[in-house]
Amino acid sequence: MEVLVELQQVTKIYDSGAESPALDGVSLTIPTGRFTAVMGPSGSGKSTLLNLIAGLDRPTRGSVLVDGVEINRFGEAALARYRRARVGLIFQFFNLLDNLTALDNVIIPAQLSGVKRREAIDRARMLLQQLGLAGAERSYPARLSGGQRQRVAVARALINRPPLLLADEPTGALDSHSGEQVLDLLRDLNRSGQTVVLVTHDGGLARQYGDQVITLEDGAVARPGLTALGAAQ
């Protein structure tokens, strides 16, 4: 089993409110091609963990290895390149740019990577079509439903074909039906080979979708191991 991401003794202490670390000596691995679910109550450090893997933040101690490379040693520019090429990010509140159309939102990471606009648009159209958003290309985010917006965000996360897809409570702002659609989409992607990390406070969802479930409690890994589903494979 190939390891894509490995955390070694990662501790994160925020500058403000530093009475206890957000993450405290966390070690774990995320295998390539798996659907890893990170669960735990609110404030347990799930988002912190995801941000460290995404290169949005740096650990106070310990290292984050992606493909064996310590990304916590990267400079800002290298981290930006890493995020652009290797990671797709999905957030609870979509984080689309309101003044760009769905299509223009999707192509941003491609353009940042220097892909020609023409080619980026072709790729984005294809993605949006696959995600059932063929008619929404030219709509602004404000005109789309929550589920649609989150699918646009998924398209944006995938446009550079990153090896790692990270989702932080992607269903938190959606009704249950739309939420299910988005998670099914993530599972389909995983089945076609995409490594996915899903963060959720909902243990049911974590167990339903994840083939590896990591539980965080007060910044530490509570019960590392495989779920029944993962074990069965």
């Binding site: 988002s47 390149r81 003044n99 760009l100 223009d104 702002a173």
Partner: protein, 798 residues
């Protein structure tokens, strides 16, 4: 109201940066305004004030000592119009020079009146001792500030009087300032008698305060009354304070137009910036405003919270700025006094400071009231749910347009930032325009004033002036005590031979003066006649050309205006019953002789005034030659054995007044540039705060820091690039207007066209780029902050 106060304090704390910018901008514009206004106020009447303090003389009369005794003069002071007098003091006209190396006598020096005066504190004309002590011994001399500046003397400098008897050496014991420029140097009274010669005989100086003394004709009447009881011809010189006052007021009237221009600029810029910041506070605080209203703040309380956030820092800044401006004004006022040879004024500026602070607060309130009031009216729910100011439909249209533009993403996103808030962008643009216009204005002004100074001072054109004292010898002078007979002045042939043979002289021309009458002007004007080509003398042409043949003259604007003449007119000059018709061929910038003068051919003048003598010589040295050396050589060549009654003045040296103006222009321009920078800084901070989430998203999906910086800079640089072409013409036009007003105010002169458009085209074009430079400089820090701001937290927030 305590709710308002605690919310206010919390907001100020949270928005320290904006508060800081408001403080900084208001401080600078308050400093600029205070500097400008206090200079304008204090220098409105620098002469009047100094004159009142020194109990200055309205009239200074010099008397022929061979015609009238000091006793008689003192007894004559009870005339009806005379209020107070000082003197009579013995004196003489003389050349004052620094002693050469090894005690040799230098022929270079300046002509002035040397006065024997026991005491600097007299009832009229109280002198201010700027440094040193009043001459006590026979070898001590006090110099006026301007004479000391002219010959480069300070305390302790050795002084000789080359045209006086007895090769005496003096030491400068004091530098003193007098409101009356008649006396340039003082010694103890008993020293004078040993110095007089036939050409420079003993005179008495007497100073009068008279009443009434407001107009020239009142002063003339008083002079006549004083002279009436004295023997005919005993008054040999008169000087009244009005002509001195006029010269002193010139500097002032020159300064006020541009001081006010700068002050208005500064206030304008700060209005724009403060308005921008307040609108920004409202825009980024919509959610806050909604919450305040939801929990029961009234609209007025909301307005109070918003305005208060700016008023506090503004009040602080205005007060601190007024203090700084007052401090900064002091050296300038000292220099102004110095340039005018007046004692340093005290700076009583409380009313100015209070006025400026008040004005600025009003301006800030007016600037902030609009956006604050709109915020107060806002519906609570709309504000809360929006959380952020609606950018309007325009944003999406622009977003689409820009999104389609074939630009790399950071540039197009930056462009979009500049366009979505047109009002803010316009105000920022205006602030940059003010910055660019100030730079252009200041540079233009500097160059034009350089031209004005060069052509008024003419030391680029004429470095040496040779003067041979002539005129009828007063009767009885041959009987001077001690039987001393000075040598006769050098002959004209001798001078001409010396001028031709002295190396280092490029050109020369001799000059004579007479005083014809012109129809339409009550007083005689001065006619300067030249015997050789003279167009190189450095008088700048306003229109027409320099005279070429007899019968042609040039004259300054003021004379032409007063006599209703213009280039091309014919005018008849009258003198002693003779008349001569001349044609005006040129209008020149010329401030000699009260601006009431003609310059023309000597042959024309001689037909009008057969007694006119060519006794002044204007000399230009070859480039690279040292004027002092050439002057010494010329003096040697005219009088190899030294000591002949003629003088050679070396002209030039930096003009204090001009340096002073440049200093003020540079300071005010620097302040305006700083204000423009602060304006850009504030706007970019506002935009990056407002777009914080957008920037965070872009960073999250992989925009590298350099591109974030580029994106933020682009939004500012676009405005900067636009500001160039707008600011350039504003700066040059304003300069043109201000220079013209200055010319009118200073001496009713028009300005030679060659004084405009002095900035070379390539420089002007690159000045156009200063807008972009300012924008990039002002956006630099906020761009860095935006690129390094943490993103994770923002991305998880709703």
């Amino acid at each position: 109201m305590t709710a308002v106060r605690s919310k206010l304090l919390a907001d100020v704390r949270r928005r320290r940066l904006q508060a800081g910018v408001v403080l900084f901008v208001v401080l600078l514009s308050s400093a600029a305004a205070t500097l400008g206004v206090s200079l304008a106020v204090e220098t409105t009447a620098p002469y009047d004030q100094a004159f009142a303090r020194a109990h200055g003389p309205h009239l200074a009369l010099t008397f022929d000592a061979s015609k009238v005794s000091p006793m008689r003069l003192a007894g004559n002071s009870g005339r009806r119009r005379v209020v107070a007098t000082s003197g009579p003091w013995p004196g003489m006209s003389t050349v004052i020079a620094r002693s050469g190396p090894g005690g040799s006598t230098s022929q270079l020096g300046v002509n002035t009146m040397l006065v024997g005066r026991r005491n600097p504190q007299t009832s009229v004309d109280r002198l201010t001792i700027e440094s040193g002590h009043w001459p006590g011994s026979k070898s001590e001399i006090a110099l006026s500030q301007s004479i000391a500046d002219d010959i480069g003397a300070g305390l302790g400098t050795g002084i000789t009087l080359p045209t006086a008897r007895g090769h005496r050496l003096f030491r400068v014991s004091a530098i003193a300032a007098s409101v009356s420029p008649v006396a340039g140097a003082w010694v103890q009274p008993r020293v004078i008698r040993g110095l007089t010669t036939r050409q420079t005989p003993l005179e008495y100086l007497m100073l009068y305060r008279v009443s009434p003394a407001r107009t020239a004709s009142q002063l003339r009447a008083a002079t006549q009354q004083i002279a009436a009881r004295l023997p005919a011809g005993s008054v040999v010189g008169t000087s009244d304070y009005l002509s001195v006052k006029r010269d002193a007021d010139v500097l002032t009237s020159v300064m006020i137009p541009f001081l006010l221009a700068f002050a208005v600029f500064a206030l304008l810029a700060s209005v724009l910036i403060v308005t921008n910041i307040i609108s920004g506070l409202v825009l980024t605080g919509y959610r806050d405003i909604g919450l305040m209203k939801a929990i029961g703040f009234t609209p007025n309380q909301v307005v109070a919270v918003i305005l208060g956030q700016v008023l506090g820092p503004a009040l602080l800044g205005a007060a601190a700025g007024a203090g700084l401006g007052t401090l900064a004004a002091r050296p300038f006022l000292q220099n102004t006094a110095h340039a005018l040879g007046l004692p340093t004024p005290s700076t009583a500026t409380l009313p100015v400071d209070a006025g400026v602070v008040g004005l600025i607060l009003v301006v800030v309130i007016v600037a902030g009231l609009g956006p604050a009031w709109r915020a107060g009216r806002l519906a609570a729910i709309a504000a809360i749910t929006k959380g952020q100011a609606p950018a309007g439909r325009r944003a999406s249209v622009i977003g689409r347009l820009v999104g389609r533009a074939p630009l790399i993403p950071p540039l197009s996103l930056g462009l979009e930032t500049a366009l979505v808030r047109p009002a803010r962008s316009m105000m920022t643009l205006a602030a940059i325009v003010v910055g660019v216009a100030s730079i252009v204005f200041a540079l233009d002004l500097h160059l034009s004033l350089g031209q004005v100074a060069a052509h008024l001072d003419r030391s680029k054109y004429v470095q040496l002036e040779l003067n041979v004292p002539t005129g009828p010898l007063p009767a009885g002078l041959s009987k001077l005590k001690g039987g001393f007979t000075p040598p006769p002045p050098p002959s004209r042939t001798r001078i001409l031979r010396a001028l031709k043979t002295t190396p280092g002289i490029a050109r020369y021309v001799s000059e004579s003066q007479s005083s014809p009458l012109v129809p339409g002007i009550a007083e005689p004007v001065t006619y300067f006649g030249y015997d050789r080509p003279s167009s190189w003398l450095g008088y700048a042409l306003i229109s027409g050309r320099w005279f070429r043949r007899p019968g042609e003259v040039v004259a300054p604007t003021r004379l032409l205006t007063q006599a209703h003449l213009h280039v091309g007119s014919l005018v008849t000059l009258h003198l002693h019953g003779r008349a001569m018709r001349v044609r005006i061929v040129g209008e020149i910038l010329d401030q000699s002789a009260n601006d009431m003068l003609f310059r023309g051919a000597w042959r024309t003048e001689r037909r009008l005034d057969p007694t006119a003598k060519l006794d002044d010589y204007e000399i230009q040295v070859r480039p690279g030659s040292n004027p002092s050396t050439v002057g010494e050589q010329l003096g040697q060549s005219i009088a190899p054995h030294g000591f002949t009654p003629f003088s050679i003045d070396v002209r030039g040296g930096a003009d204090v007044g001009f340096l002073l103006l440049n200093g003020i222009i540079a300071s005010l321009a620097a302040i305006l540039i700083a204000i423009a920078l602060a304006g850009i800084f504030a706007t970019v901070i506002l935009s990056t705060r407002e777009k914080g989430r957008e920037i965070a998203i872009l960073k999250a999906v992989g925009m590298p820091p350099a591109q974030v910086v580029a994106m933020v800079m682009t939004s500012a640089a676009i405005l900067g690039i636009l500001a160039g072409p707008v600011g350039l013409p504003i700066g040059t036009q304003l300069h043109r207007q201000v220079i013209q007003i200055m010319g009118q105010a200073a001496s009713s002169t028009r300005i030679p066209p060659s004084f405009f458009n002095l900035i070379p085209m390539p420089v002007l074009v690159s000045l156009g780029a200063t807008g972009a430079v300012l924008a990039i400089a002002g956006a630099w820090l906020p761009a860095q902050w935006a690129s390094s701001a943490p993103v994770a937290e923002i991305l998880q927030a709703e």
